[in-house]
């Protein structure tokens, strides 16, 4: 398939970055320096400095000689990729796939994306504006191949959009350096008087191969599209993803809702064709010069109905901050599941329709508050009270469930609370207990129920549980940790309340 690439060259990447952080240096001559073989060399310089004739890799001393008021800052070369990646993230609003090149260039695979912005030119405009708002200067170009796009940002006109298949035409007058060749080879070509790519193309291929090697041919072929260029995206590919751009920034909630609905319709149509449904969806709104805003929703079952997913987003849309306007939207579906022909039955005896309805209900709640707020439980066969139940899926799990009928309290404290008791030893029920300053006289009691530790899970003291009823009829679950044996003084606790 015919691809289209945009190349973004951050011409003054490092110095722009510095300026963003120290805006008061705006009109000063700036360089970033690195130490090499004992000498301080220039890694990056801003426009002002370059215009005055100072080149990269000049020594700082020489540069100072030319520009006395030069300001120099330490470069952090190992950070370059990280910084560039951060900018790549910004490009996510424009296209699904971004790749890094060197320490100052990004490639965007914009195949099929530009129409969303209303055309190639508005598309490039949007990119430029996006980065300008942050403070970066760019050189942009668009072409069928990365090689050509790269060449044009360096040596061609800015903002050049090369029509399909015409990239070699656009490159004819560019120097051989535009082919990203090594310095030695470039020197040779220069010596031979080959100063334009046009001249190179006039030579027969076999001659080029013989005299200058495979590399030259490879580079030419990459630019023309004859040879495949390798592509290493910064982000892993997301299968289901849709973008929407607006000419005017959107300022109303209605506008955002309409964008979301539009994207949902598009994506669910694709998913339906593939027999898949949404399990997780992320909706992002990009603003020029501001952090993007994002909402995420998840579902219990794979959903294909766009309205259902919209309702889940709706819960959180209110909290979305629209100011000062959203330019483009992105809908990502990181997680999908195949949509089953027949929905599984939840529990026993529920109708099919109920399953979906219940899933929707659960989705609404879990998206608003978080899935961890919803619980459902099944019994777990353990004598130790804290382990006698287990968490399970809110919808599924647990046919033919039997809860053993045991004397257990309705309310169990997550942490047992210490009490003082008056009790005949060794293991009779207490006569009274004091809890939080209140004394309870015990009229009736059952127990002890002695529960030892489940030795394969945990060591520790056994517990003797007592069901006690005070003179007001209030019923409590108490336990003693350990036994009264030879002088030990075990602790007593309140663990629960009976209804």
């Amino acid at each position: 398939m015919q691809k289209t690439f945009v190349c973004i060259w951050f011409k003054y990447f490092k110095t722009d970055r510095l300026l963003i952080r120290q805006p008061d240096l705006k009109d000063r001559p700036l360089v970033l320096i690195r130490k090499e073989h004992g000498k301080m060399l220039i890694s990056a310089a801003n426009e002002q400095v370059l215009k005055q004739g100072v080149q990269h890799n000049t020594s700082l001393a020489d540069a100072r000689a030319i520009i006395p008021g030069l300001l120099s800052f330490d470069d952090l070369p190992e950070k370059a990729t990280t910084w560039l990646k951060a900018l790549a993230v910004y490009c996510n609003r424009f296209c699904p796939s971004v790749s890094l090149s060197g320490t100052d260039t990004l490639f965007l695979d914009v195949t099929g994306c530009t129409h969303l912005w209303g055309g190639d030119a508005p598309y490039l405009q949007a990119i430029r504006q996006c980065f300008a708002a942050i403070g970066y200067q760019l050189r942009l170009s668009m072409a069928d191949t990365m090689g050509a796009a790269w060449a044009l940002t360096r040596y061609g006109k800015d903002d050049l959009i090369v029509p399909p298949h015409r990239q070699m035409d656009a490159m004819l007058l560019l120097p051989p350096a535009a082919l990203q060749l090594e310095a030695a080879l470039l020197a040779r070509l220069d010596k031979l008087g080959l100063k334009t790519i046009c001249q190179l193309l006039q030579l027969p291929r076999s001659a080029l191969l013989r005299r200058f090697g495979q590399v030259l041919l490879d580079r030419i072929d990459a630019c023309s599209g004859q040879r495949m260029e390798s592509w290493e995206p910064v982000f892993p590919p997301v299968k289901y993803q849709e973008r929407l751009a607006s000419l005017e920034p959107i300022l109303t909630r209605t506008g955002v809702e309409m964008a979301l609905q539009n994207l949902l319709e598009k994506i669910t149509a694709q998913l339906k064709r593939d027999g898949m449904g949404i399990r997780q969806a992320v909706f992002t709104g990009f603003k020029t010069g501001h952090e993007p805003v994002q909402i995420e929703v998840g579902t219990q079952l794979a959903v294909q109905d766009p309205r259902r997913v919209f309702r889940l987003f709706e819960i959180k849309l209110e909290a979305l901050s629209v100011e000062p306007g959203i330019d483009s939207f992105l809908l990502d579906i990181p997680r999908t599941d195949p949509v089953k022909e027949k929905q599984e039955k939840i529990w026993q005896g529920s109708a099919e329709r109920n399953c979906e309805e219940l899933a929707e209900l659960i989705d609404r709640i879990s998206n608003k508050f978080g899935a961890h707020r919803i619980s459902r439980f099944l019994p777990d066969e353990h004598h130790w009270p804290e382990r006698a139940y287990q968490k399970t899926n809110p919808l599924f799990g647990g046919e033919q469930v039997q809860w053993p009928s045991m004397d257990r309290p309705v309310v169990l404290l997550s942490v047992p609370e210490e009490i003082q008791v008056s009790v005949p030893v060794p293991d009779y029920p207490p006569l009274l207990f004091r809890h939080k300053g209140q004394v309870h006289e015990i009229i009736q009691a059952d127990g002890p129920e002695r529960i030892e530790q489940e030795w394969w899970l945990q060591e520790g003291l056994s517990r003797d549980y007592y069901i006690v009823e005070d003179k007001n009829g209030q019923r409590y679950w108490l336990f003693r940790s350990g036994n009264y044996a030879s002088g030990s003084k075990p602790s007593w606790f309140l663990h629960g309340y009976f209804g």
Partner: protein, 243 residues
Amino acid sequence: MSVLTTEIKKKLEQEVLALGGFRHQAKEGLRRPDLGLINQAFPGGLFPVGAVHEFLPENKEQMVASQGFLSAVLPALMGPDGLACWITAKRELYPPGLARFGLAADKLIFLELPRAVDRLWALEEMLRSTLVSAVVAETDAISFVQSRRFQLAVEASGGTGFLLRSPSATRSVLSTIASWKISAIKSRMPDGLPGVGFPGWRVEILKARNGRAGVWELFWEGNGFACKELTESGAIHRLKKII
């Protein structure tokens, strides 16, 4: 003058109830708990479903008593296939402890929402849903208007709501079908057995719409209720066992 047969009487009652907006109350074949003598507090002698009840515990023990009472009432509303929802600030309900009241905890959806406003939102969602037979929610402050909304929600869905109003929150008047106060009383031991017996509650209905207030003693006897009314005169009616 025609004789007022029981049938005609019943039909008239239903029509009156329907006029008063109690469509659900009058419906035949609805699942509802049978609380024996306590039923008499309500119009038609039927425990109100498709409505919102409120509970007014004064302390932790009364709160737990209400929770126990509701655990025994919920299964009747849910039936074998139904599901219910229990909304609390912090989950302290112990699933294995509900079985003794006949409530299977796997048929419950627990929501743990520390913020009161969240609980109210969730409560309304659950009350609206036709899938949920009963919802119990711990509430702090609620307005009358909110309670009206809940009432409308259950009238449409047919579910039953139970508000456990926090002892520490200010209690405004609400639009509920009944107000209850439950506290524990000494357990009843059959056959002179030692130890703690069948749990008992003092069940007080403070107000019931189109019904009457009263105080009863109710016991859960392992697999069903047994109830006796405590009348003002002091006379105690015979204990009637309800299956």
